[in-house]
């Protein structure tokens, strides 16, 4: 798909903006997105990709009082790669994996809008995520334990309890 701004480059940024229940899609290339304050044609009143993302990030919503937190967030930069929050909102891209940590406070609204969710529930890397896997396993077993107690399956419950204890010990040792 070509960029709807320049019509030349491949669009790499895709957004959906919903205003009063009306959905508008935007497909823009990176260099156009980079241009600060560039207006997107065909939008009533017009708004820039900048304000679009900022809107998603709840920083410069029209008519909104800027909270102290958002002011801090705006000037905040990722210590690892140096990208600032407002650069991120203009580019629509993170500079490095640490950006996720430094911009964390502003990300939930963005992820909610884009994905309808803020938490990963999928695959976990086997090696690096071994601990996470075990923690999730413990969570699942605790739920199972609750059920088996309710259903008075005490033998099974005891087994589960021992298993959970073993796993918790393993994690603590690592």
């Amino acid at each position: 798909m070509l960029c709807q701004e320049c019509g030349v480059k491949q669009a790499t940024l895709h957004f959906t903006k919903i205003v009063n229940g009306e959905k508008t899609e935007f497909h823009i290339c990176e260099s156009c997105a980079r241009e600060k304050g560039e207006l997107i044609p065909g939008t009533p009143g017009g708004f820039s990709i900048h304000s679009l993302l900022s809107g998603l990030l709840d920083l410069e919503g029209p008519g909104k009082e800027k909270s102290a937190a958002s002011k801090i967030a705006q000037t905040q930069a990722c210590v690892e790669c140096g990208m600032t929050y407002s650069q991120f909102s203009k580019l629509g891209r993170f500079g490095c994996s640490s950006c996720y940590k430094y911009f964390n406070s502003g990300l939930d609204p963005l992820f909610k809008r884009v994905h309808g969710s803020t938490l990963h529930v999928g695959k976990i890397p086997k090696r690096a995520g071994a601990q996470i896997v075990v923690r999730r396993q413990i969570e699942e077993m605790k739920q199972e334990l609750g059920i088996s107690i309710l259903q008075e399956e005490f033998e099974k419950a005891a087994e589960l309890r021992d298993h959970i204890r073993r796993l918790e010990k393993e994690i603590a040792q690592e």
């Binding site: 891209r93 994996s97 884009v114 990963h120 999928g122 086997k126």
Partner: protein, 355 residues
């Protein structure tokens, strides 16, 4: 410069072998997963030196001479490629346009039958792509995740307990998974049902775009349907959702085809035969027309109006009629008119009486 075998033939071996269910409607299934390495900025900000470091970490995983379960891999660095070869690789969907245009230290690892394509230093450090003919999203996902596991034995991924796999673009975070299915939907287009269906698809977290088209316009009635959400759904849920929606679209397309044949058999037969005639005898053909006529012929074969050409030949022609491939076959640097002429020649020779 050694010739690149991946750009010699239009159809990858995996596509040639055919197979995959519902291949009269689903052309191919693709899964891509995005991964990044720890402690190195994403390609957007990485220096050339850092990009080379990424390459050094990632290439040895499949770099050995010995064949893996997925074939042996060849590493191709973008700087070593002619522009035309890059163009052809894009037309075959083996690499993305942004690997060509925006990448520092970009490279791709391809296996022999080209069903696996591993891009390095694209928007993310690593993008594993698996392509299968027909409707085989599940199979594509299984292969991609297995290859992901092999990488993960050697390298450290940027992963967060809460956010999942960390990617450069917020639209890929979480699973990093983009699963897509390429579908040929001529009857839904002809019966004006396509927009209604596509907007319904948008409402269940999927996106649709035309392939090779300008804007979102589909050329040759070919549409690509993929998941939009990557965070908050597991890979299995994403694949299941896509599969069930695609199944429903297949059903709608089938019904629309049956209705076409029942209500307007003469009109549709005329349209198919005319397109066949034009592709067999025309002297000049623009891409847009050839794509539309090829779509008619594909439909004609499916409806039993025409005997042959095979699905595999149709798939091949879709790729071969693209600008890069024509230049690759008939000579570099063509004008548009020359391309249109060679496109017609190619189609005449493949479909026509070969005189």
């Amino acid at each position: 410069m050694p010739s690149l075998r991946f750009t010699e033939q239009a159809l990858s071996d995996f596509m040639r072998s055919g197979g995959g269910s519902h291949s009269e409607i689903v052309i191919s299934s693709r899964v891509r997963i995005a991964r990044n390495l720890q402690h190195i900025p994403f390609p957007l900000l990485a220096s050339l030196k850092q990009s080379e470091e990424v390459l050094e970490q990632l290439t040895p995983v499949f770099g050995g001479e010995e064949a893996t379960e997925y074939g042996s891999f060849q590493l191709v660095k973008l700087v070593d490629l002619e522009d035309l070869d890059k163009k052809v690789l894009v037309e075959k969907h083996l690499i993305s346009p942004s690997l060509v245009n925006e990448s520092k230290g970009g490279a791709v690892m391809l296996n022999e039958d080209e069903s696996v394509s591993i891009m390095i230093n694209e928007e993310d450090h690593l993008r594993i792509q698996c392509l299968f003919p027909g409707f085989q999203v599940q199979e594509a996902w299984e292969r991609a995740t297995a290859i992901d596991d092999i990488f993960e034995e050697t390298v450290n991924y940027a992963f967060d307990d809460k956010r999942g796999y960390l990617t450069s673009c917020p639209t890929n975070v979480g699973t990093g998974l983009r699963a897509s299915v390429m579908m040929h939907l001529p009857a839904l287009v002809m019966s004006h049902q396509i927009n209604r269906i596509l907007s319904a698809v948008n409402q269940v977290g999927l996106t649709v775009r035309g392939i090779y088209g300008e804007g979102s316009e589909a050329v040759g009635n070919i549409f690509q349907i993929s998941n939009q959400i990557t965070l908050g759904q597991s890979e299995i849920e994403i694949i299941d959702n896509l599969q069930s929606v695609v199944m429903q679209i297949i059903e709608h397309e089938r019904n629309a085809r049956e209705r076409l044949l029942a209500d307007s058999a003469l009109r549709i037969t005329d349209r198919v035969m005319r397109s066949y005639g034009i592709l067999s005898y025309a002297a000049v053909l623009e891409l847009k027309e050839s794509a539309q006529r090829l779509s008619d012929i594909r439909l004609g074969v499916d409806l039993g109006i025409l005997q042959g050409p095979s699905v595999s030949i149709m798939n091949e022609l879709n790729v071969k009629t693209q600008p890069g491939f024509l230049e690759k076959m008939f000579g570099d640097e063509m004008s548009t008119t020359e391309r249109d002429m060679y496109r017609a020649k190619l189609l005449r020779e493949t479909l026509g009486t070969k005189n």
